[in-house]
C-alpha cells in the first residue's frame, strides 16, 4: 500500500512540475507579446508625431455628404445628415427634436459624422452647432 501511495505522490509531483514548466513557458510568451505591443505603440506614437506635423491632420478629412453617398452610411447616421440638409445648422438638441431620438444619441451620431469628415462643428457662445460645409451660399 505504502509503495502504491509513494508512486501516486511521485506521479502527481511530476505532473505539477510539468504544469509549472508549461506556465513558465506561457509567461515568457506573454512577456514577449507585451514587449511587442509596447514597440508597436511607441512606433504608432512616433508616426502620429511625424504626420501631425508633415501630413494632413485627421480633423481635416472632408467628405461631401451628397444624397447617394449617404446610402453607404448606417441608417442612424444617415438620418442625422438628412436633418441637416433641412436645418442648415443645428445643436444636438435641435437634431434630437427633428429625429425624435435622445440628445445624447444625436450628439454621438453628429460627432461621429464630424470625425468621418461628413459634417463640421463650430461653437457659438455656449452652443455647439453641427453643419454641412457647402461651397455655395443658399439663396432662396
Amino acid at each position: 500500500m505504502a509503495t502504491k501511495a509513494k508512486s501516486a505522490i511521485s506521479g502527481t509531483e511530476q505532473l505539477l512540475s510539468r504544469i509549472v514548466d508549461g506556465l513558465n513557458h506561457v509567461n515568457k510568451k506573454l512577456d514577449s507579446i507585451i514587449q511587442l505591443n509596447k514597440n508597436i505603440l511607441s512606433m504608432q506614437k512616433r508616426l502620429l508625431r511625424k504626420y501631425s506635423i508633415q501630413g494632413p491632420s485627421v480633423t481635416e478629412l472632408k467628405i461631401e455628404p451628397d444624397a447617394l453617398s449617404l446610402l453607404s452610411l448606417p441608417a442612424s447616421l444617415r438620418k442625422t445628415v438628412m436633418v441637416l440638409y433641412k436645418l442648415e445648422k443645428a445643436t444636438a438638441e435641435g437634431l434630437a427634436k427633428e429625429t425624435g431620438r435622445l440628445r445624447a444619441v444625436e450628439s454621438a451620431a453628429a460627432n461621429q459624422l464630424v470625425r468621418l469628415g461628413y459634417l463640421k462643428k463650430k461653437r457659438e457662445g455656449r452652443e455647439v452647432y453641427f453643419y454641412i460645409e457647402s461651397p455655395m451660399e443658399i439663396e432662396k
Binding site: 449617404l70 440638409y85 454641412i132 432662396k140
Partner: protein
C-alpha cells in the same frame, strides 16, 4: 390640400417610358383645377420635357431655368413661370422648367458631388419659400428615371414619392430593387402607381383590380395607390395636350383623380400606416 398638410410629391420610376411626365403634369392640373396652388418642377435634367408640354402657354423666352436656381444664379420665384392663365384653372399652376439645350444638359450632368450637396439643400430651402412665402399648397417633382443624383435629391427632399411602373417584369424588378435599396434606406413614404396595365379594351371588375393590387403589394411590400389601364388615345395624344384640361371625363383622368384624392387624403389615413418607415 387647403386645410391639410402641404406636401412635396416626387414622381419617379425605375426606367423610362412608364408615363411619369404624363402622370406628373395631369396630377398638377387636377390639383390646380380643384383650386389648389401648385408648383411643378422638371427635375429630369437629362431629358427635359415640360418645356414641350407647356410650350403653348409660355409667353416669351424663359429668362431663368430651374438649373439657374440650383446654381445660385436666380431666386426660386424667378425660376417659376405661371401657366395657369392658359388653362383657366381655379388655382395657380407654376412650372419650373429644365433647360433642354445640349449645353445646359451637359453642364448639369457634369456637376460635382459638392454641387449635389448644395442642390439637395436648395430643394429643402425651396419648400419653405413655396409653402410659407408663396402660398403654394402642393409641389410636384417630375424626376429622371432610375438612381441619379437629381432623382435621389428629389426623393430625399420630398414628403412622399410615387413610383410609376408598368406591369412589365423588368420594370417591376427595378421598382422592387429601388424600394429596398433607395426608398427604405431613406425611410421615405412611398407608394406605387401601376400605369399602362392592360389594354383599355379589356374590361375588368373591381374584384380583379383589388386582387392585382393585393398581389403587387405582397411582392413590393409597399402600398399600390392605383392601377391605370393602357389607353391608346393617351399614348397617341400630343405631348402638348393636358388631358385633365381637354378631356376631364376621360377614364385616364378619372383614374388619376382617384390617385390625387388618395395622395391628398388617403395617405394621411389608412395608407400612411402601411407606408414603410412610418
Amino acid at each position: 390640400m387647403k386645410g391639410k398638410k402641404r406636401r412635396v410629391i416626387t414622381i419617379h420610376s425605375s426606367r423610362g417610358g412608364t408615363g411619369k411626365t404624363v402622370i406628373a403634369t395631369n396630377l398638377a392640373a387636377i390639383y390646380a383645377n380643384k383650386g389648389l396652388n401648385v408648383v411643378l418642377l422638371d427635375l429630369d435634367f437629362r431629358a427635359p420635357s415640360l418645356v414641350a408640354v407647356f410650350s403653348k402657354t409660355i409667353k416669351g423666352p424663359i429668362k431663368h431655368w430651374l438649373g439657374d436656381f440650383l446654381d445660385g444664379r436666380c431666386k426660386a420665384k424667378q425660376a417659376l413661370i405661371d401657366v395657369s392663365e392658359g388653362y383657366n384653372f381655379r388655382g395657380k399652376l407654376l412650372v419650373g422648367f429644365a433647360n433642354p439645350s445640349i449645353d445646359a444638359i451637359r453642364n448639369l450632368v457634369e456637376k460635382s458631388r459638392a454641387w449635389e450637396v448644395t442642390a439637395v439643400k436648395k430643394l429643402f430651402s425651396l419648400r419653405s419659400t413655396l409653402f410659407n412665402e408663396m402660398g403654394i399648397d402642393c409641389c410636384i417633382f417630375d424626376t429622371s428615371p432610375g438612381v441619379q443624383y437629381t432623382s435621389v435629391n428629389a426623393v430625399v427632399s420630398s414628403d412622399i414619392s410615387v413610383i410609376v411602373t408598368t406591369y412589365d417584369s423588368l420594370d417591376m424588378k427595378g421598382v422592387e430593387n429601388m424600394l429596398v435599396e433607395l426608398y427604405d434606406a431613406f425611410a421615405k413614404k412611398t407608394v406605387v402607381l401601376v400605369n399602362k396595365v392592360f389594354p383599355e379594351t379589356r374590361m375588368w371588375s373591381n374584384r380583379e383590380q383589388k386582387q392585382l393590387i393585393s398581389r403587387m403589394e405582397k411582392v413590393l411590400r409597399h402600398p399600390v395607390i392605383g392601377v391605370i389601364p393602357c389607353f391608346c388615345d393617351v399614348l397617341q395624344a400630343k405631348r402638348t395636350s393636358l388631358l385633365a384640361v381637354e378631356k376631364p371625363n376621360h377614364p385616364f383622368v378619372r383614374n388619376l383623380e382617384e390617385v390625387a384624392e388618395k395622395l391628398e387624403v388617403g395617405v394621411e389615413t389608412n395608407l400612411e400606416e402601411k407606408v414603410v418607415g412610418k
